[in-house]
């Protein structure tokens, strides 16, 4: 693996390789444990009682579990897409048009990141209850439970996307866009053909991170979610307090497999498109150098 490296055998290098492998073991030890225990024949997840595929059969046959997973995926896709679009626009604007408004906007974004999730969750619930009309339970447009989750998750995600995209744009040369403007390209075309391709890696990172955060969000979800659109983490949180059944681990393993496969697919497409995930994550550095 260390092909092309000058001194693969010296002490520091061996130390770093060992460290890297230990961290991977640390990261995966509980995941592997959960995957192994997802084949537990026993009634309780944590007490091993022999190998069985039954938990998988039961997990697939449980409509409540399946619907909570589906709710989570819808909530994560919706809020991540929403955050990626509006966060990208705002991030570009904040980087390209610095000034009083950009400063105010960035202060708000920072405040979003600093506010403890529990405060956000309670504030949102109180607010959702007061709001009616297009944001109320009787609206004609969208599923009310999903809408609450979208907005609830989109707030933090949007803040994250804004910061990532802004960091990326700040590091970019504006001359290309200026050249296009000199050639009388209209603003929309300039954006679509020049700016967007340049910031796209940052948008993808923002989207992926938002998706993961939403898929795992427990506190805000448990407050704002409405019966009938209980997302997966809230379902697990409920189950954790009672008898923890192996089916939860089975469903989780299935989700893990599916997400890894889709991640691999995305990676494949991106690699063909010329991007690489290391380039993608560069935007995460939190600022230009």
């Amino acid at each position: 693996m260390s092909r092309g490296r000058p001194t693969p055998t010296d002490g520091v290098s061996i130390g770093l390789w060992t460290w890297g492998i230990i961290v991977f073991i640390f990261l995966f030890a509980p995941i592997i444990t959960i995957v192994v225990y997802s084949f537990n024949a026993g009634r309780t997840l944590v007490v091993w009682d022999g190998f069985s595929l039954d938990p998988y059969v039961r997990a697939m046959a449980d409509p409540t579990m399946a619907s909570s997973v589906l709710t989570s995926i819808k909530a994560a896709l919706g809020s991540a897409a929403f955050a990626a679009v509006i966060g990208t626009l705002a991030g570009i604007a904040a980087a390209r048009r610095p000034g009083k408004w950009a400063a105010v906007f960035l202060v708000v974004v920072t405040l979003v990141l600093i506010t403890p999730e529990i405060v956000d969750a309670i504030a949102l619930l109180i607010w959702f209850v007061r709001m009616g009309g297009p944001f109320g339970p009787d609206n004609q447009f969208v599923d009310y439970g999903l809408m609450r989750l979208w907005f609830g998750h989109a707030i933090f995600s949007t803040a994250v996307v804004v910061l990532i995209v802004r960091a990326r744009v700040s590091g970019m040369d504006e001359s290309l866009e200026e050249a296009a403007a000199d050639l009388y390209a209209p603003p929309w075309r300039r954006f679509r053909q020049i700016t967007l391709p340049l910031v796209f890696p940052a948008v993808m990172v923002g989207f992926l991170l938002s998706f993961s955060l939403s898929l795992d969000n427990t506190i805000i979800s448990s407050f704002v979610s409405v019966a009938g659109s209980t997302p997966w983490p809230v379902y697990v949180f409920s189950a954790v307090r009672g008898t923890l059944r192996p089916e939860l681990a089975s469903m989780s393993t299935v989700m893990l497999l599916l997400t890894v496969l889709s991640l691999a697919a995305v990676g494949f497409v991106l690699r063909r498109g010329g991007g690489s995930s290391s380039e993608l994550t560069q935007a995460l550095a939190g600022g230009k150098q």
Partner: protein, 396 residues
């Protein structure tokens, strides 16, 4: 429809108000005795659903496809839920809570937008919840199986004539201990505190719920654990902060269900939760954990089925409650949750079946005489403060 005319007067006859009012007294068991008649016992043999049939046939209702629960964790057998879904096509969705306070706070904040149909509060909280306008008045004609409930558990002081609620379960509080760590016999709450301060120091869990702090203090001496007297609450605070908090390793409301993880050696818990835990570890190590019912006094609680105001699935809610009141279904529920469901005749059936650990479900006359109901009152605020202080003290 006709069941209303027959069942309600029957209840009145079987349970004179004076007996039923006193939740924690002999009427409880007296009623149990009366109810254990051959007629009711034979009802246990009937298949679930047969008793529903007449009402359903008289007025066929569309149950819809969903029903949303706001309930305690592990409080219904997944098998029961599944068979109900198979039978009716109604899918049940569940969200859970840790304490009555938490549930009421969430329902209050959501102001009816939570979308829940069924809620299972503890009896003494019902007057306030009803007063806050959160509960639907029950239509008894839709609950023919109400006749199957032991009259001792109907018409309670906090909900006369079962206007808002029907008994789901009743039970008590005690503790579990690990005999590998505590090698002596524990019998009372004083023993609990003593073991907690000695062999089980740093390995003891208590409930994550404010009023149990007052309970632990008061039950040891038989004091009133619902007192709002400032002096009493001061004493509770001193006791909890100095004598209890330093020895606590977790504030957990369902330690029994997680017993197998061996996180604590001494755990305050409800009888059914303890039984679920013991059943799970029974196969591997039956002697290791021991259950003790709190003494000299301890808690009495009764959890109740209620329907929330604004419920979107009213018919399904009634059909579910009626379904679980069926003695056959109820007996399965009892085996799973480890709580007495208050349906007449089940104690006898359990005895005949030699149901394991049934002494944790059915209590004797003398035990019930030591049970005391809790309350939601002005002391709660102060107890929440004490709980947060205790948590800070335990972390050191």
């Amino acid at each position: 429809m006709n069941s209303k005319d027959t069942s309600i007067p029957a209840i009145r006859v079987l349970a004179p108000t004076a007996t039923a009012m006193r939740l924690s007294r002999r009427g409880f068991l007296g009623g149990m005795g009366i109810a254990a008649t051959g007629a009711l016992l034979s009802a246990c043999a009937a298949t679930p659903g047969t008793s529903v049939a007449p009402a359903a046939a008289a007025a066929p209702v569309q149950l819809g496809t969903e029903l949303n629960f706001f309930n305690w964790a592990s409080y219904d057998d997944p098998a029961t839920v599944k068979s109900y879904t198979t039978k009716t096509g109604v899918n049940i969705r569940l969200d859970v809570y840790n304490s009555n306070e938490e549930a009421i706070a969430k329902l209050g904040a959501a102001a009816g937008t939570g979308g829940y149909d069924i809620f299972v509060p503890t009896g003494v909280y019902i007057p306030q919840i009803a007063q806050a306008g959160l509960l639907e008045k029950l239509d008894h004609s839709k609950l023919p199986n109400l006749a199957k409930v032991d009259p001792a558990f109907l018409n309670q002081a906090w909900d006369k004539d079962n206007t808002y609620s029907v008994c789901k379960d009743w039970g008590s509080t005690g503790f579990l201990y690990d005999t590998k760590v505590i090698k002596r016999d524990l019998k009372t709450w004083s023993d609990f505190v003593d073991a907690m301060q000695n062999e089980a120091s740093g390995k003891t869990s208590i409930m994550d719920s404010p009023n149990y702090l007052a309970g632990l203090y008061a039950w040891r001496t038989g004091m009133d654990w619902t007192s709002t007297d400032a002096g009493f609450l001061d004493d509770v605070e001193k006791f909890i902060l100095n004598d209890v908090a330093p020895h606590i390793n977790a504030y957990e409301s369902y330690p029994g269900a997680a017993l197998a993880q061996g996180k604590s050696a001494l755990m305050m818990c409800w009888n059914g939760d303890a039984r679920q835990g013991l059943m799970a570890v029974h196969a591997s190590d039956p002697e290791r954990y021991r259950w003790v019912l709190g003494a000299p006094t301890t808690e009495l609680w009764m959890d109740n089925w209620t329907i929330l105001k604004g419920a979107k699935h009213l018919d399904a809610a009634y059909s579910w409650i009626n379904y679980v009141l069926d003695p056959v279904v109820s007996y399965k529920e009892l085996q799973f949750t480890g709580y007495n469901t208050g349906i007449a005749g089940l104690r006898e059936k359990a005895k005949a079946d030699k149901l394991p650990l049934s002494e944790m479900i059915f209590f004797t006359d003398q035990q019930v005489a030591t049970f005391k109901s809790g309350a939601l009152n002005s002391g709660t605020d102060r107890l929440v403060q004490i709980l947060t202080k205790a948590k800070a003290a335990s972390a050191k």
